[in-house]
Symmetry: C2
Subunit: 424 residues, 2 copies
């Protein structure tokens, strides 16, 4: 039990700050060896991990957590294997730290460039999935940051058991033990402290439901890299290839319902609505996707399928995360772009068109972290973008936008070389 949360968190913070200095100059080899050592300890301790998780699961059942939550909370041998794989994969990524770019001579004779450096201390606040402890720790380690992890209270035993493996790995390689710290209290005040210690914490990354993230953004005194809504659109242009349109629109909705890059609203140029929508609506209905359409959509679909609900104003700004799709007919690409910028969440939006000029205009004018042409929105993902790993998706514009990989956890400093140069 932690009696004084404020002091406890300040101590974690000041330890993390000290560790971050050492982490910043750790070699690539040291960091990779640590990731492999942690993987080894996860493997050695898998029994202990499963037992700790059992305690959390039993408590969760007693508390009446719902099935989805319990599923996210559960550790299985397969899930432990996948954490181990994840560690090895992060080790295989190239080290962003220390990379020097663009060293150029200036008229004064000095040579100026930029070197990539860690952010320092990263606070991560997440909910029930214990695997986030490893995902987050490994990415922060590889990017030379110290991290303070605050997982969900329902996963406390699991997270502590995982933390023990992380410490064992750090110790084995001689890295600072405070490079990764897992908050050991479930007191909510700990979160309040973590997000208001700019002297110790450089950035907060919250992962979880929208409520959590909004609360943290509102109260934080530290920059927050966050993801709010994923209200993503596919717009089928009248110059689009309708076969591609149907394929992409079906995939963007049905490949997975619960992700942030799943399409929530389909926009269709009214000139192609009658050709596209009836057969596409039938496909959705086979998958039990509930359809909510504007009047023109309903008219276009009427003969093909039944039960299309009239969409309300609220539908256009709703992230269903479920087998529900709103469909709207628009009279031009301009109207589609306006709709996306107004009702969307600036996450991921795709146009289906074969028109060169329109593709360029869509890319320029849609204000989203990912803009796509003839691609399913479901590709908006760090792995698909070649980042190698992902700590989250940012819907902010400051610092990092879209899927956040190792580089999103870094900054750059100027490096200036000379030979006794003085300013005139």
């Amino acid at each position: 039990m932690v009696s004084n949360i404020k002091n406890y968190m300040a101590e974690l913070g000041s330890k993390a700050r000290r560790a971050s200095r050492k982490m910043a100059s750790a070699s690539t080899q040291q960091k990779n060896q640590t990731l492999f050592a942690i993987a080894k300890h996860l493997e050695l301790q898998s029994e202990a991990l499963l037992n700790a998780n059992k305690k959390d699961m039993n408590a969760g059942v007693e508390k009446g957590l719902d099935a989805a939550l319990l599923d996210r909370l559960e550790l299985t041998p397969a899930r432990i294997d996948s954490m181990i794989e994840g560690l090895k994969q992060v080790a295989s990524l190239s080290d962003p730290i220390g990379e020097i770019n663009g060293m150029k001579y200036m008229p004064s004779g000095i040579q100026v460039g930029k070197m990539r450096v860690p952010l320092g201390v990263i606070g991560i606040i997440y909910e029930s999935r214990p695997n986030v402890t490893i995902d987050a720790a490994s990415l922060c380690l590889k990017s030379g940051n110290a991290t303070i992890l605050r997982g969900g209270s329902e996963a406390l035993h699991s997270n502590q058991a995982i933390a023990a493996c992380i410490y064992a790995g750090l110790e084995e390689i001689g890295m600072p033990l405070d490079a990764v710290q897992v908050v050991s209290t479930t007191d909510r005040e700990a979160v309040g402290e973590l997000i208001t210690m700019p002297e110790f914490v450089d950035v907060i990354i919250p992962r979880g439901g929208k409520g959590l993230i909004e609360r943290i953004s509102r109260d934080a005194k530290v920059p927050v890299i966050k993801h709010l809504d994923g209200i993503c659109h596919v717009y089928v242009d009248d110059r689009g290839d309708l076969e591609k349109a149907a394929k992409v629109a079906f995939n963007a909705k049905t490949q997975r319902y619960g992700t942030c890059c799943t399409m929530e609203t389909l926009l269709v140029h009214e000139a192609v609505a009658a050709d596209l929508l009836p057969s596409l609506a039938a496909l959705y209905q086979e998958q039990n996707v509930e359809l909510r359409g504007c009047p023109k959509t309903i008219a276009a679909i009427a003969g093909a399928v039944e039960g299309v609900i009239a969409a309300t104003e609220e539908d256009w700004s709703t992230e269903y995360l479920a087998p529900v799709l709103s469909i709207k007919c628009v009279d031009s690409m301009d109207t589609a772009i306006e709709h996306i910028n107004q009702y969307g969440s600036h996450h991921t939006d795709s146009i289906i068109t074969e028109d060169y000029t329109r593709s360029r205009q869509f890319i320029t004018e849609v204000d989203s972290s990912s803009v796509m042409v003839n691609v399913s929105t479901r590709f908006a993902d760090g792995f698909e973008y070649g980042l190698g790993a992902e700590i989250g998706v940012s819907t902010d514009k400051i610092h990092v936008r879209g899927p956040v990989g190792l580089e999103g956890l870094t900054s750059e400093k100027y490096v200036v070389l000379g030979d006794g140069h003085i300013r005139q």
Copy 2:
């Protein structure tokens, strides 16, 4: 007079948001033409500008503003010329917006890259210098952002007169008039509103004294790009060339006293203190620089000059912005680096050394926005770094670090191209 500040600011904000959408897709030519048009109107209206400024100056004298403040407030024909030159110079910079980088094919067949885009709406809060109105407006314009400018109350008439020239320029080229808005009330509540409207403002850049910046950072609900202290160091290594050392250390302190990249503390390896310090101290004293030293420094200088004061603990973390210098002898580069990371402000720090390995270690381990080898700290400046212009210097690590030019006012979005690609 503005009666309801909250509504007034929200209206500015929502107008800025709308204008920012149009600004984001303005062509390079439109933006440059606007900059030239504003320059023309400044020239045509120079009489009116001087008259408006006279009102501010008279009110300032009446209010008893000190000479330094009045100097900053004053507009002269030469200063108007320099604003005009500044506009032309920003027009000559290459346009960062729309640049697409790194388009690469992924294993899935999609092609992924990044496009540079404006941040959106930038709020700038500054004090008495009216030329900031033009500097800030021109950089925001060129980077495709809308901006809300809140200058000092003592410069209100000058800023309004400059604003009139900006509006005339925007109008002449057919750009959205709300792309640049100057807050027309001096009510302090306006600042409080500006920094707490995340729905309308994407980033705040405060320029001014430390008090202003701390207050804004503390209260803002919008990301802040800020500069706090500039406690910069030169460390003279025992493997440094002492001629270069003396030249750089003298320049870093005396070339200008009041800038954020002026050296405030000189660190000297004790093995070279006796060789370097006596003659260097004499040079400083010729310039009436007050010296505050550690005991070893005082001992080393004793024979050469008199009146060296004993430095206190406080001196090591003081930004003098004045002809005062603290000097400390250290027993190794490691101690120097530790001192810099602990007492410095992570701004700009330079080592004087001819040693290859030490230069690399200093660059890696010093956690500052600019790390230098054999260069005067006075070079830490957007113009000297080739940015073409500077809206400020960031001592943060998030988003942008060091001198902030046009690129610091932008973000990147992902561009994804395909041919009907769907996720498996």
